[in-house]
């Protein structure tokens, strides 16, 4: 077990290092990173001054060393727009995103599991088709558009829910729905196919032979096993939510890290963007590592694979 954890940990560190290299490299692919950092009206002296200040006049390997050493100390540069350390901005906004994500996740599960179960149990019937159609529609709906349509219907036409910014509980409804729908389709299909697989297995036949009722067999024997793949994909869903949060927070002017990412993009705030990406990378890799360790703990087969 310790060896497994150590190996997975080292893998994550390696991945993080690769991510840092990619970020470092991309800033230089397009030419001089100083041009990414400067405002458009900057003079030639500003440029030369900045290059000296950032050490861009030194050889590349020294630059890489400076970048990595800074990153390790938590110094990822200052945001151009806010003129403040990028890490500080990120951690200021993070709690707002973390308030939204669990709601979306729970909401998505609350819809996806019953729908997936119904679709599997009534396979081939109209119920299966309707839930299949819901999944297909969900996959085809761009979430940025869904958010805007929800605002139009519930905030502007009906006037029952607030359209943007944080506030009381009602402020959470629309963003959580928008973010949750992003996940529902995939989750539902997964629940359906994994339940169908379990329903065909031997122990389920045995449970039926024993004379257990359909409800007990499905909900107690099958669903528990069917949900294993759903939980192992938690890491993937988390990454999806982090992605979805960029668009959702933008639409609802939600002051989280997703919105911060968007601001970094439209204001071409390169230091802020690279900090946001590196920090989000650390979080996603950390969550994935945690999920893997938990899974290995629960299922010994994984450890020795």
């Amino acid at each position: 077990m310790q060896r497994f954890i150590l190996r997975r940990f080292l893998q994550s560190v390696l991945l993080l290092f690769v991510l840092a290299l990619v970020i470092f490299g991309l800033a230089r692919v397009s030419g001089n990173p100083a041009d990414l950092l400067l405002r458009e009206d900057a003079t030639q002296e500003d440029r030369a001054h900045l290059m000296r200040a950032l050490g861009l006049d030194r050889p590349v390997h020294e630059q890489l060393y400076i970048f990595l050493a800074g990153a390790l100390r938590g110094n990822l540069g200052d945001s151009i727009r806010y003129r403040r350390p990028a890490t500080e901005l990120f951690f200021e906004r993070l709690p707002n995103t973390l308030r939204l994500l669990p709601l979306a996740m729970v909401g998505a599960l609350a819809i996806a599991i019953p729908l997936g179960v119904l679709a599997a149990v009534y396979r081939g019937t109209i119920i299966d088709r309707v839930s299949g159609a819901v999944a297909v529609l969900g996959l085809a709906t761009p979430s940025f558009w869904l958010g805007i349509v929800l605002i139009y219907i519930f905030s502007i036409k009906l006037g029952v829910l607030p359209s943007s910014r944080m506030g009381g509980p009602s402020h959470y409804v629309l963003p959580a729905i928008t973010l949750g729908v992003f996940l529902v389709a995939g989750m539902m299909r997964l629940v359906r196919s994994s339940l169908l697989e379990v329903m065909g297995s031997e122990f389920v036949k045995l449970a039926r032979l024993k004379g257990l009722s359909q409800t007990v067999v499905i909900w107690k024997h099958c669903l528990r096993n069917a949900l294993i793949p759903v939980t192992t994909l938690f890491g993937v869903y988390f990454a999806l939510l982090i992605t979805g949060a960029i668009v959702t927070e933008t639409v609802f002017a939600w002051p989280g890290v997703g919105r911060l990412t968007y601001e970094a993009v439209i204001f071409r705030d390169y230091p802020l963007l690279q900090a946001v990406i590196l920090l989000k990378g650390i979080i996603v890799l950390g969550v994935n590592l945690g999920v893997d360790i938990l899974y290995a703990y629960l299922d010994p087969r994984v450890r020795y694979a």
Binding site: V29, P142, Y152
Partner: protein, 301 residues
């Protein structure tokens, strides 16, 4: 994956005749005609944009600004879907936007699918350390929110078709690589591969001449299944200000522009978004049909 193992055990795949017989009958009859129609209209309109569009997509006409769609009060048949804040015709922008969507989708799918195909073939065929290394990279790419890298690319390389194509390549290659690899694992155990080897074919030749044609069906299905996804990704990048730069009309950009006018001019955001949804739905249903027809084993993907 279980199915792939089955095929490895058997050694031979089912004969083409048996395969054809086991296909559900009347596939052409079950062709999703509505999807097919939507896709056909989209392609025709995109190709013939200058002939079909009633106005120029970039021509501004401030007196006509924010005209609602024709069926609403105050709308006129001159602008069927209304005009935006600068008086540009929404329908014309939508038509030219279809061009952008299709060009980006084609470029990105060819690039991303191509990279995925190559990695999948090399990984599956060579096996061993190369395989486990490449599959690690694939796993890492799949669990990472790669759209962040796409945004970073857009900011560092500047906006444009090339950047978007690279960004989407980064996003999708791993999905292709994984599925293609699975197929290759099954194909490479078949006798004709061993025979080719005995005849003295190089590994490169076997991969190019013997493996590629046998995974082509799967590849085509994967391509079709990903068109909708790519269109949504492109629209999302445009929405976030990292897509094709204005004034070239793109659907995501149109939704973004319409967002701030949602209270007074709902059609600006709703119409292009509905177009995205309709087109993606059509491509997804078409892809599902193609998969069932050509390669039903991909159902789990």
């Amino acid at each position: 994956m279980a199915r792939v193992e089955e095929r490895i055990d058997v050694g031979f795949g089912p004969s083409p005749a048996a395969e054809a017989a086991s296909r559900p009958r009347g596939d052409l009859a079950r062709l999703p005609w509505i999807s097919f129609f939507i896709i056909a209209v989209l392609i025709v309109v995109a190709v013939l944009a200058p002939l079909v569009a009633p106005h120029s997509p970039t021509e501004q006409s401030l007196p006509d600004k924010l005209t609602p769609p024709a069926w609403q009060e105050g709308g006129s048949t001159k602008h069927l879907l209304g005009t935006d804040i600068l008086g540009r015709d929404v329908l014309s922008r939508l038509i030219y936007g279809a061009r952008v969507s299709l060009i980006v989708a084609a470029a990105a799918l060819l690039a991303g699918g191509g990279v995925g195909l190559m990695v999948g073939i090399v990984s599956g065929y060579l096996g061993g350390r190369v395989d486990s290394f490449l599959m690690r990279v694939v796993d890492a790419t799949l669990t990472f929110p790669t759209i962040l890298i796409a945004l970073l690319l857009a900011v560092s390389l500047g906006q444009g078709l090339q950047t978007i194509a690279i960004a989407i390549t980064v996003l999708i290659w791993a999905r292709f690589a994984r599925v293609v690899r699975g197929e290759v694992l099954a194909v490479k155990t078949r006798d004709f591969v061993a025979l080719a080897r005995v005849h003295g074919c190089s590994h490169l030749r076997i991969m190019a001449i013997h493996i590629v044609p046998n995974v082509l069906n799967t590849f085509m299905v994967l391509l079709t299944l990903h068109i909708g996804f790519v269109i949504i990704v492109e629209a999302s990048l445009s929405f976030l200000g990292a897509g094709i730069p204005p004034p070239t009309p793109s659907w995501g950009q149109m939704v973004a522009d319409g967002r701030s006018h949602i209270a007074s001019a709902w059609w600006l955001a709703v119409v292009p978004g509905a177009a995205i949804m309709l087109v993606v739905l059509a491509f997804n249903l078409f892809g599902d049909w193609l998969r069932d027809w050509l390669d039903p084993r991909l159902r789990q993907v």
